[in-house]
């Protein structure tokens, strides 16, 4: 009798599983990670490894302590650690990724009851905690390709930080931004690698266009309309290609757990993220606003879901 599974219709079977989707997303992030390591040197690899290992260890410890099933092999903690590592500057003290991953998994995810219960994207919770706690390390970036010139590291500002301080005197070529020849976090700089990963996920059907495209378009339009020399003068391509917008839009604003379920809700979510990112970048105190924008819209997800519920067929 126990072998009989009784469930409501539709009785469809899907061979996808959480771990398969997670591993596919991890696979699609590998090019961007490799590009980041190539651009910033071997230190970047250590940052990513520390973040990943401590995320796995934290999840295993908490699940062991609370006597829950240990699920570190389903890839979700690995993905959180990987994304957190991607969101860190390449040269940070060794304990920074460890503390960040512990916080991301413990406070960002496990405290709510684990995977599927968390309100906020855990990797971004970790990043924002680190940014608010140790701003000195989180805003010190290094020059790209310096490791290949025989230097250990040369401090360098991100294009958006230069813009905020009004020091962006010469225009950075779009090709440099596109290929990742700029200062920034490990995983966010190489746009071409990120796009390759995103297209792979899109073709395999793990990613829908609704959130990322609305997000990027909204940011582009907003930064174009509210330009520095009056309306409709903004450098929209610069804003799309700099900062963590591409990484955030394709890989963090599309987290299944913390974003709306319906297509309509996802478009509202993407639009909200885009507006918030543009507002923070143009008028806020921080040079970059992708992580805050996504976290704020994460908080709005339950209410978006409530108002975009699809009508049940046959009802009014």
């Amino acid at each position: 009798m126990n072998k009989l599974i009784v469930s409501v219709s539709p009785h469809l079977h899907n061979k996808e599983s959480i771990s398969k989707i997670m591993w596919m997303v991890i696979l699609s992030l590998i090019p961007a990670g490799a590009a980041g390591i190539y651009i910033f040197g071997i230190d970047a690899l250590w940052v990513i490894i520390l973040a990943v290992v401590s995320a796995l260890a934290t999840e295993a410890l908490i699940q062991g302590f609370t006597k829950k099933k240990i699920t570190i092999f389903n890839g979700s903690a690995l993905l959180t650690g990987l994304l957190l590592g991607f969101n860190l500057p390449p040269k940070v003290p060794f304990w920074l990724p460890i503390v960040g991953s512990c916080f991301a998994i413990a406070i960002g995810k496990m405290i709510f009851g684990g995977l599927g219960q968390n309100i906020f994207n855990p990797a971004l919770v970790g990043r924002v905690f680190l940014l608010a706690s140790w701003p000195k390390y989180m805003t010190t970036f290094i020059q790209p390709m310096a490791a290949w010139g025989g230097y250990d590291a040369i401090t360098y500002a991100t294009p958006l930080a230069l813009l905020k301080e009004g020091k962006l005197t010469e225009k950075i070529p779009y090709l440099d931004l596109f290929l990742g020849n700029r200062g920034g976090c490990i995983g966010e700089v190489c746009i071409v690698a990120l796009l390759a990963g995103a297209i792979f996920l899109f073709i395999r059907g793990y990613l829908s266009w609704h959130i990322p495209i609305t997000y990027i378009l909204t940011t582009g339009i907003f930064t174009y309309v509210f330009g520095p020399k009056g309306l409709f003068t903004g450098d929209w391509l610069f804003h799309i290609l700099s900062g963590g917008l591409i990484l955030g839009a394709f890989f963090m604003a599309t987290d299944y757990v913390t974003t709306p379920l319906t297509r309509k809700g996802q478009i509202i979510f993407g639009f909200g993220c885009g507006v918030l990112t543009a507002v923070i970048r143009l008028w806020g105190g921080y040079p970059e606003g992708v992580s805050y924008a996504i976290l704020m819209m994460n908080a709005a997800t339950p209410i978006i879901d409530r108002y975009t519920k699809t009508r049940i067929y046959g009802t009014r």
Binding site: P93, V99, I107, I111, F129, A132, S133, W134, P135
Partner: protein
């Protein structure tokens, strides 16, 4: 005698105003940045609790039922004024650090809660020990929270740096850090209670 001891002790752990009754969170969140602020706030609140509990227990039979809350507030405000002026006279630095949160003890839920729930129904002696216990419980909770926040958020304890090379997490000194620390401590104490039961 045993009854009095019980009234005194219940405020410290079993009915701790911060972690069990979850009252008076506004000053707790706001002033727990440093241990010295926590102690100052705790002593001021304990003084007000003692005074208001005694007076309200004394006059409880003369307060008309329908205007009892305004009457309590007048009594509490009197003691808050005494505490504030004393603090201004003898410890102006602490007064500046605590700022608006000293006058705001008037509307502190712990004080009003004890007046309404306890002192207006019990004898003077009982109310005295209830107020003392609650005040000490509040102070201890404040010291615990502010010690954690000051050490982790600024690397010091009572203004003294503790560990060389320790890099404090600034976020714990900010309002978000207060919510984090109090939330985690509440969860921890609930876990202990569940284990015991």
């Amino acid at each position: 005698m045993k009854k009095l001891a019980q009234e005194f002790l219940k405020g410290i752990i079993r009915e701790n105003p911060t972690f069990v009754l979850v009252l008076g969170l506004c000053p707790t969140l706001a002033v727990s940045v440093s241990v010295i602020n926590g102690i100052g706030m705790g002593i001021a609140a304990t003084f007000v609790l003692l005074g208001s509990n005694i007076i309200i227990a004394l006059i409880k039979n003369y307060i008309p039922q329908r205007i009892r809350i305004p009457c309590y507030i007048v009594v509490i405000a009197t003691f808050v004024t005494i505490a504030e002026m004393t603090m201004k006279a003898f410890s102006p630095a602490l007064d500046r650090a605590l700022g608006i949160y000293v006058p705001l003890i008037v509307v502190n839920c712990v004080v009003l809660g004890r007046a309404e729930a306890y002192a207006s129904k019990n004898s003077v002696a009982n109310s005295f020990f209830d107020g003392l216990g609650m005040g000490i419980g509040f102070t201890l909770a404040l010291i615990l929270i502010s010690a954690l926040r000051e050490f982790l958020g600024a690397g010091t304890l009572l203004g003294h740096p503790l560990i060389k090379g320790f890099e404090p997490a600034f976020v714990l000194g900010m309002p978000s850090g207060a919510l984090l620390v109090i939330g985690l401590l509440l969860g921890f104490f609930n876990l202990l209670k569940k284990r015991k039961a």
